[in-house]
Symmetry: C2
Subunit: 243 residues, 2 copies
DNA sequence: CGCTTTTTTGAAGATGGTCAATGGGTGTGG
DNA sequence: CCACACCCATTGACCATCTTCAAAAAAGCG
């Protein structure tokens, strides 16, 4: 019903080559399904997880909890992503993972995955590569939030999101459900709420995109990528989705 | 003379357990040494590296090259770090690595390392963990540059740097050679040069640290960590260095 | 239709950015 | 040994931008 194994295999094939034996190995993973409503914590800062989480439906976010009580969102994840792969070999989570809107996740025991890596190193390498791409996404976020002015920053953020969503085949034509509110965008991009709104207005006025009430619509992809200085090579996909 | 293998083993032992067989495996790696002067590129954006770089002496930095020609520095690396481990399983580098001041690096062929991972998965897991800690450092940089005001941001940056340097045993008491100039600090922390200077003045006035001409001096570690809201758990060391 | 939630707008004020000038330290050559 | 030059750090003034705070408008929902 949920095609858990197929979701993971498709995802890994976006960037890695898998033999049929590799695929068989992956299909042997057991898992359990969990449905979430908005803003449930999946893993908390300080936890020692022994399950790997695979997103099946909806959106999930990583975040840091700050002293002030504010959140800093680090990344957003969609179908096929492993939002806590970072915890596979780390004892204590240094960040948390929560649902954004309704979501469905599958949990796979770490032990099984590690066993698989020992039996078929290539499966391990594919998931390792997955975690390295996560790293590339983090690096890009550093640059985006540190070096680009608000409107450019906003455009880049949505470019990446939409590009990855296209690759995961969860877009509906030029629209994407993305159940995030403006204050959360502010906590992602490191800007004030008013600035978030003004940047979005700019992009709307430029007929590049429209984002309102959890729905993103791309109006002009080419223009958006230009404004956002977006170049997708850091996502390391074997073949880019057509947008 | 350079103790290349020992440097790598010590580094991995900061966060991972290695059996003596693992160590033997690591000691079988061949390598070549390279000495660098200031600001030489070790790997460029777009390269497809087939060597892994291990820092032996000095400092090395990762950076993004922006459209404007400006650089955004992503992280700094010292003895024992593998600054391009991110390229182990990625075809095309999405960022560059350069020397900062004089530095010495050892290069190990990717092929040998991957062979080692197949023979001794545990060696692979240790290096995988190393790349995951890199990821944690990137996440922290997102938060630091996005959510913290200049002086706090500066303090946090130097806390992490000094803490990692202590773990690598390259500090001289409470001082560290760090051959970075103010404009580069600006390109790291996403602030203007004047702001960099004023933040440094603040920290100097607060008797927390002194940074001038490539030399960092910690004046009051406790105060510095407090100002910088620094909590080192994200570095995932098995036992913290004493400072 | 009225309530709640989310977005939008406005104005004031703080903060950080830009630019240009000054100061300090070091090394070189007269 | 002094003078000059260079490089980097520092300071100051002005200005643009973003943040803050508050209020209004718009959109969803029962």
């Amino acid at each position: 019903m949920y095609q858990v194994h197929q979701t993971l295999v498709s995802k890994l094939k976006e960037h890695s080559r898998l033999t049929s034996d590799d695929v068989t190995m992956i299909k042997s993973f057991s898992y359990s399904i969990r449905n979430l409503i908005h803003d449930e914590d999946i893993i908390r800062q300080g936890d020692d997880p022994n399950l790997a989480v695979l997103v099946i439906l909806g959106t999930v976010a990583r975040y840091h909890l700050l002293q002030s009580g504010r959140r800093q969102f680090l990344s957003f994840h969609v179908k096929g992503d492993l939002p806590d792969a970072q915890g596979l070999f780390l004892e204590k989570m240094d960040h948390a993972v929560c649902s954004v809107g309704n979501a469905t996740i599958a949990s796979i025991p770490h032990k099984q995955m590690i066993k698989a890596f020992e039996l078929r190193p290539n499966v391990g390498f594919a998931i390792w590569r997955e975690t390295l791409i996560d790293g590339a996404i983090f690096r890009e976020a550093i640059t985006n939030n540190s070096a680009r002015p608000p409107t450019v920053r906003m455009a880049h953020f949505f470019c990446e999101l939409f590009y990855r969503a296209k690759a995961a085949r969860i877009t509906d034509n030029q629209t994407l459900d993305f159940p995030v509110l403006l204050p959360q965008l502010a906590d992602t991009l490191g800007m004030a709420l008013a600035t978030v709104n003004r940047s979005l207005s700019d992009l709307r006025d430029a007929r590049a995109l429209d984002f309102r009430l959890a729905k993103l619509t791309i109006l002009d992809w080419k223009r958006l990528t230009k404004v956002g200085q977006f170049s997708p090579s850091y996502l390391h996909l074997r073949k880019p989705p057509s947008i």
